[in-house]
């Protein structure tokens, strides 16, 4: 650095610079506009109860989307999260049915352990089998869903078969907030700190941004790739336990199609599908926006089919914005 520059005047940032650096600002503005528009039409939108509903609805999405985010940061994708949730949910529900006395925290740990095992199969296929992530997890998406049927024999576990403790896990309150929201918030903080302040977190960005340069710098990319799918499984396992807790059941079609919501939340939140770019606050906002739109569409009585279409539209808009920004930034920097 030369001395002149280091003292330096504040660099002047263009609109695009700011917009691309602080993606969160853009989403926040969008969310605020949405709140105003919907509230004008349906005043019940902006009530404590409804906001609490929205947060409850997106808590599990947020947790699993954060795992998905770490995967996408390495240029990968984990399509199997929904089936991992379905499988783990079914397994822990059976354990609770057979052994209702098992403490809840043990169930949580069991769920995370099972998720980790499922995730590490993805890791093995991708790192040792050299299978592209989209194919590997597309495969396990079906395999794990098949295992749900195999394991349950097609039956469901219903609310009355579950112990009371598990139901309290998500609905009980801490400091006036439902536990579920508190847990999601804690996980977000942990992932945020992990990505920002640990060596491994930094390496995830490095591998996703330029895998060759990362390897030349002594990072072992395969280890990082192994880790992110494992973590995605772990968070899916946690999500599965919370799912059973919140919906008080485990079904063969639990979380079906959920993988696309996690990808959508991450991408809307500014996680770049070409790797190396993304933040935890962005993903939280992405999940929030998704949850709000679903809620708002229900409130204004629009068919659930339109909700799906809206979700699809959002992801396309988010990616288009991404592309426009990246071409702009390259142009202005040269």
């Amino acid at each position: 650095m030369d001395a002149r520059a280091s003292k330096g005047a504040r660099p002047r940032l263009s609109f695009w610079d700011i917009f691309s650096r602080y993606r969160e600002i853009g989403i926040t503005v969008f969310i605020l506009i949405l709140v105003v528009v919907v509230t004008l039409r349906t005043p019940s939108f902006l009530t404590a109860n409804n906001l609490r509903d929205i947060l409850m609805n997106i808590s599990i999405l947020m947790i699993v989307a954060l795992g998905q985010t770490m995967v996408i940061l390495t240029k990968g994708i984990d399509l199997s999260v929904s089936s991992m949730i379905g499988l783990v949910a079914m397994m822990v529900a059976f354990v609770m049915k057979e052994h209702p006395e098992t403490p809840v925290f043990a169930i949580v740990l069991l769920g995370m352990a099972l998720g980790t095992v499922a995730g590490s199969f993805n890791s093995i296929i991708i790192t040792f089998g050299k299978v592209p992530p989209i194919i590997a997890t597309l495969g396990t998406l079906s395999v794990y869903r098949g295992l749900v049927f195999f394991y349950s024999g097609g039956t469901w576990i219903n609310s009355y078969e579950l112990p009371r403790g598990i139901k309290i896990l998500s609905k009980g309150e801490l400091l006036g907030l439902p536990n579920l929201i508190v847990i999601a918030f804690l996980i977000a903080v942990i992932v945020y700190l992990f990505l920002k302040y640990t060596r491994t977190g930094r390496n995830i960005f490095a591998v996703g941004s330029n895998v060759e340069a990362a390897e030349y710098a002594g990072i072992r990319p395969q280890r990082i790739v192994f880790l992110v799918y494992l973590l995605s499984g772990l968070l899916s396992g946690l999500g599965a336990v919370l799912w059973v807790s919140r919906f008080e059941s485990a079904q063969t079609n639990t979380a079906l199609g959920f993988e696309l919501q996690t990808v959508t939340a991450a991408v809307i939140g500014g996680v770049s599908i070409s790797g190396g770019v993304g933040t935890v606050p962005g993903v939280i906002l992405g999940a929030l926006l998704l949850g709000m739109i679903q809620n708002a569409l229900t409130l204004v009585r629009i068919s659930p089919f339109w909700q799906l279409a809206a979700q699809g539209l959002l992801i396309i808009i988010a990616v288009v914005i991404d592309r426009v920004i990246s071409t702009r930034v390259v142009r202005t920097s040269t």
């Binding site: 280091s6 302040y197 941004s209 030349y216």
Partner: protein
């Protein structure tokens, strides 16, 4: 006067302010093989790209059959019968030979349906007229490199090429294949095709070429009949410059052997490479592009571990299978391709600089950001990196400053052995001088430096000893006092293999 088919008159071309062709003149006659000769970076490729319309000249004119032409893209030049075959072949691996020849111009029946019979008939006629035999139904990926070249030539002739440009066509062929290719080239010459032939193998030129044009540093030097010249004469014309730049080379007392490699081999890339690297020494690794210099460096650094041979550091045999290991053994590698291998362009300077030594800024894997920033700041300051701040993205810096960041990053690992691959390519004169001064300094402090460079003056100016690599083999070994541009170029281009 002999007829000319193609003529370049005072053609100049610059890229971002640097002129790479200066008033180049060139003429090509029908039925001749005209060789184009010059060192790396002499301007041969740019000239070819101007002829094919890939680049447009800044000034100067191109005449085809004594008529001035302007090509806006390669399609224009193809239309008038100019075809080029590059080192990287461009066949479609999963299509068969006949389809590759007629790709994009399949003969049609009823205006829409592919006429397969006609396609194979015409392909057969074409190959027959070239006097070669290749199974038309074979997939391109099953062909040898020589056969693939023939298919490319056939493709060129299916559009009635009158001028054929061949860029190092023999570089990956066996002797027999070269002989076959030369037969084909002679046939084409008989039939009146004009051929521009680029090769680094001087001996070959005497065998196949009629005339030769020499370029040097973007200047036209001379054109002569191959029969009236000699190998030495051509070498002199190729290098013929004196070292104008001053190099801040400091004489350092040579220390102990730090790195010793014995007969390391990576199949298909290099073979039986042996050398020693002492403390305080700068060892220059010279050779043409594609001679395997970078591969040797990458193998030493664990990126492509060697297949056989011994690597010893301070007399201890080591096996290096990953960059991670290499770094722990005290190696550092500043790669040739900054953007792809040296930097993470989208990241800020701090994480870029701290990347190889991130462990030092972590306590129980927890990053100490302040310490890291301070360290990166100091490292950047020492290298005199010019940036707005340490938080700027690496991508936004100039080439010279990016190179300084890469150097800062690797020097921060305190390496004992530093490998520099084209350390001053594409950077400004000021930074270049700074890098050279830095190298001298590091050597004086006892670091062992292996420097790969395509710039002969740099090799001659900075190295204590020089080894020359040619097609994966070491062909020569010079002390600083023995080395001249001529003998390095000779070793880099000679055909015969000399042991080391």
């Amino acid at each position: 006067m002999t007829k000319t088919i193609l003529r370049l008159k005072d053609v100049s071309k610059s890229f971002s302010g640097v002129e790479v062709l200066h008033d180049v003149n060139f003429d090509l006659r029908p039925g001749e093989v005209h060789a184009l000769l010059g060192e790396n970076g002499a301007g041969k490729s740019t000239m070819v790209k101007v002829i094919t319309g890939y680049h447009q000249p800044d000034h100067g004119e191109i005449y085809l059959d004594d008529e001035m032409v302007e090509f806006t893209d390669t399609r224009d030049s193809r239309q008038v019968g100019i075809a080029a075959i590059y080192q990287e072949l461009s066949l479609f691996p999963d299509l068969d030979v006949a389809e590759n020849i007629f790709i994009g111009r399949h003969p049609l029946k009823f205006g829409m349906q592919v006429d397969w019979r006609k396609l194979y008939d015409e392909a057969k006629q074409l190959l027959d007229s070239l006097g070669v035999q290749i199974d038309l139904k074979q997939k391109a990926r099953q062909l040898s490199i020589a056969q693939q070249q023939i298919v490319e030539i056939a493709r060129a002739f299916s559009i009635n090429a009158r001028i054929l440009i061949m860029d190092e066509p023999t570089s990956s062929l066996t002797l027999n294949e070269v002989a076959e290719l030369f037969n084909l080239v002679r046939n084409l010459r008989e039939s009146g095709t004009a051929i521009i032939f680029i090769s680094h193998r001087l001996e070959e030129l005497f065998e196949i070429a009629d005339r030769v044009t020499v370029l040097r540093d973007g200047y036209y030097i001379d054109t002569c009949n191959i029969k009236e010249t000699s190998r030495d004469d051509l070498l002199r014309k190729m290098v013929g410059r004196t070292i104008s730049e001053q190099y801040p080379k400091v004489e350092v007392l040579r220390g102990d052997v730090l790195l010793q490699v014995e007969n390391i081999t990576k199949d298909g890339l290099f073979r039986d490479v042996s050398f020693e690297l002492h403390q305080g020494e700068i060892l220059g690794l010279a050779g043409l592009v594609g001679a395997g210099r970078t591969h040797v460096a990458e193998s030493l650094f664990g990126i492509r571990p060697v297949d056989s041979g011994k690597i010893m550091i301070e007399g201890q045999e080591v096996s290096i299978t990953s960059p991670h290991q290499a770094i722990e053994l005290g190696l550092a590698y500043v790669p040739e391709d900054r953007q792809q291998h040296g930097l993470i362009p989208a990241m800020q300077l701090t994480p870029n600089i701290s990347l190889p030594k991130l462990g030092e800024f972590a306590r129980y894997s927890w990053l100490l950001n302040k310490k890291e920033r301070k360290f990166a700041y100091t490292a950047a300051l020492q290298m005199e990196v010019r940036a707005r701040s340490i938080s700027q993205c690496a991508r936004e810096l100039s080439g010279g400053n990016q190179q300084k960041v890469v150097l800062a990053k690797w020097l921060s690992t305190n390496p004992r052995i530093l490998i520099l691959d084209e350390p001053t390519r594409g950077i400004d004169v000021g930074t270049k001088a700074a890098v050279h001064a830095l190298m001298s300094n590091l050597a004086a402090q006892g670091m062992a430096i292996l420097m790969i460079s395509s710039e002969l003056p740099e090799i001659l100016g900075m190295s204590d000893r020089i080894i020359v690599l040619r097609e994966g083999y070491i062909t020569a070994h010079f002390l600083r006092v023995e080395a001249t541009q001529e003998n390095i170029i000779a070793a880099a281009t000679q055909n015969v293999r000399i042991g080391n």
